[in-house]
């Protein structure tokens, strides 16, 4: 209590009021702000994971080669069947 009175009189000398003017609003802002930032960053994190998976050039190249190999194998099989 003495500390509060000391702060108040120091504040008067400085023309500033030391009292909880908007403490509820500040606490609500802290909660909403931190939750909001984490939500946005988590969504962006998910976005990066999806983008990295969807645009992975090495895997895309590997999938392309696999498709080409399958096509070539099918074509070879057809040729073999015809010759039989």
């Amino acid at each position: 209590m003495n500390l509060i009175m000391l702060a108040a009189s120091a504040g008067q000398a400085m023309d500033i009021e030391f009292k909880p003017h908007n403490i509820t609003e500040s606490l609500v802002l802290m909660l909403m702000g931190m939750v909001g930032i984490f939500v946005v960053m988590a969504v962006i994190l998910g976005l990066i994971v999806i983008l990295n998976k969807a645009t992975d050039e090495k895997k895309a190249q590997a999938r392309k080669e696999k498709r080409q190999a399958k096509k070539a194998a099918k074509a070879q099989l057809k040729d073999n069947m015809r010759s039989i």
Partner: protein, 392 residues
């Protein structure tokens, strides 16, 4: 007529310093000189502090023609610094937003895209903003002022200037000086804050760096999607995030190299020159030489310290759930503030000091870059939520 009165115009300027309010102008001239000294001799953010210091001198010379003056005969005489402020900041916050284009063009999000969990530290390290708003609310009855002061903790000059301007805070000058000064003091503030909440063993945790490869398509789509996501959650952040991501897209598309270079160099330098001088418009003696300024400078330190502590403690919290061998060095959490690249370098230096084989630079860069996104998102959320709370 007395001959001295005839020539009074020669000494009116000096005489002003000895009037009741004139001593404040003298104090501001000294502060301007101090900022120039810190910029040029101590190398504290010279690009901003030197123009701000010079501008502080310009606007605080008695009856300065650099600011708007009222003349008995001539009427209202406009001044260049006040005009720059009205047009460049007051009208639409153009200067800090245009600077963000340049900053976005300079950022390489690669270390973040290859290690995306660093984003969480970019979020945690904004804690100091909200704690500072809470502390400021004890001293500043206007909640918007308290919120503007808290944004010093974004460790991002343009965001701090923009938020204080949108909230029409009378403390913009002090907020800008605090934001840029403490950004320059990161190499002193962060080691102190980190050592308060970590042990030597924690600071020695090694983190192997195994980055994923990042495609060009990801680098191009990332800024577009981030802008959309942030804008949907906090619409007031669209200008901030949008300009930052536009600059980044100029860089990453690889089709507009000359525009990217212009944004990174000419545009950024031009705006930086003008922004520093323009901020001085809010450093007039009657507005700046107040107890409020001293308190704001102290609160700025609180913001930076608790930003760092917030990021570090979050990393320690994550370590509770992570197995041995995959733990995070808590110092990397402290790199989640927006002071890029200084904070990353500070963390790397601290890590090498504890263990000369422990290279944390790329992890710290990822967190640091995430902090750039976190700070603009935080600014946008504050711009959105504070009016809601005041209205509510």
């Amino acid at each position: 007529m007395d001959i001295l009165e005839q020539f009074s115009f020669l000494y009116n300027g000096v005489a002003f310093f000895f009037t009741e309010e004139g001593w404040k102008n003298l104090v501001m001239l000294l502060i301007g000189g101090l900022l120039i000294y810190l910029a040029l001799v101590k190398d504290f953010e010279p690009a901003l502090l030197m123009p701000m210091g010079f501008g502080a001198i310009l606007v605080n010379l008695p009856f300065s023609g650099a600011i708007d003056q009222q003349n008995e005969v001539l009427g209202s005489v406009p001044g260049i610094i006040d005009w720059l402020f009205k047009v460049g900041i007051h009208a639409s916050e153009a200067m800090p937003l245009l600077l963000f284009i340049g900053i976005g063009a300079m950022i390489d999000f690669g270390p973040l895209l290859s290690n995306p969990k660093m984003l969480l530290f970019g979020a945690a390290a904004q804690f100091g903003i909200f704690l500072t708003v809470l502390v400021a609310s004890f001293m500043f009855p206007n909640f918007k002022d308290a919120a503007a002061i808290g944004v010093i903790g974004a460790a991002d000059g343009p965001t701090a200037i923009l938020v204080s301007q949108v909230f029409k805070s009378n403390y913009m000058g002090a907020i800008a000086v605090a934001a840029y000064s403490y950004m320059a003091l990161v190499p002193i503030i962060q080691p102190f804050a980190i050592k308060l909440v970590t042990s030597k063993k924690e600071r020695m945790i090694r983190m192997p760096y195994n980055p994923q490869s990042v495609s060009r398509r990801t680098r191009i789509l990332f800024p577009i999607f981030v802008m959309i996501i942030a804008g949907l959650v906090a619409p007031m952040s669209v200008s901030l995030v949008g300009m930052l991501m536009f600059g980044n897209l100029l860089r990453e598309c690889l089709k507009l190299e000359s525009l990217s270079q212009t944004a990174q160099t000419t545009l950024a330098n031009l705006i930086t020159i003008l922004l520093g001088l323009t901020i001085a418009s809010s450093m007039k003696a009657d507005q700046f030489v107040t107890w409020g300024t001293i308190i704001i400078m102290s609160l700025g330190l609180v913001a930076f310290v608790f930003d760092t502590i917030g990021g570090v403690l979050f990393a320690k919290f994550m370590n509770i759930f992570l197995p041995e061998g995959k733990k995070i060095n808590p110092m990397v959490g402290g790199a989640g503030i927006s002071a890029f690249p200084m904070s990353a370098r500070v963390i790397q230096k601290m890590a090498l000091k504890e263990d000369n084989q422990n290279h944390l630079l790329m992890h710290a860069v990822g967190a640091n870059v995430a902090g750039q996104i976190g700070s603009v998102v935080a600014g946008g959320i504050i711009l959105t939520v504070v009016p809601m709370l005041i209205k509510g």
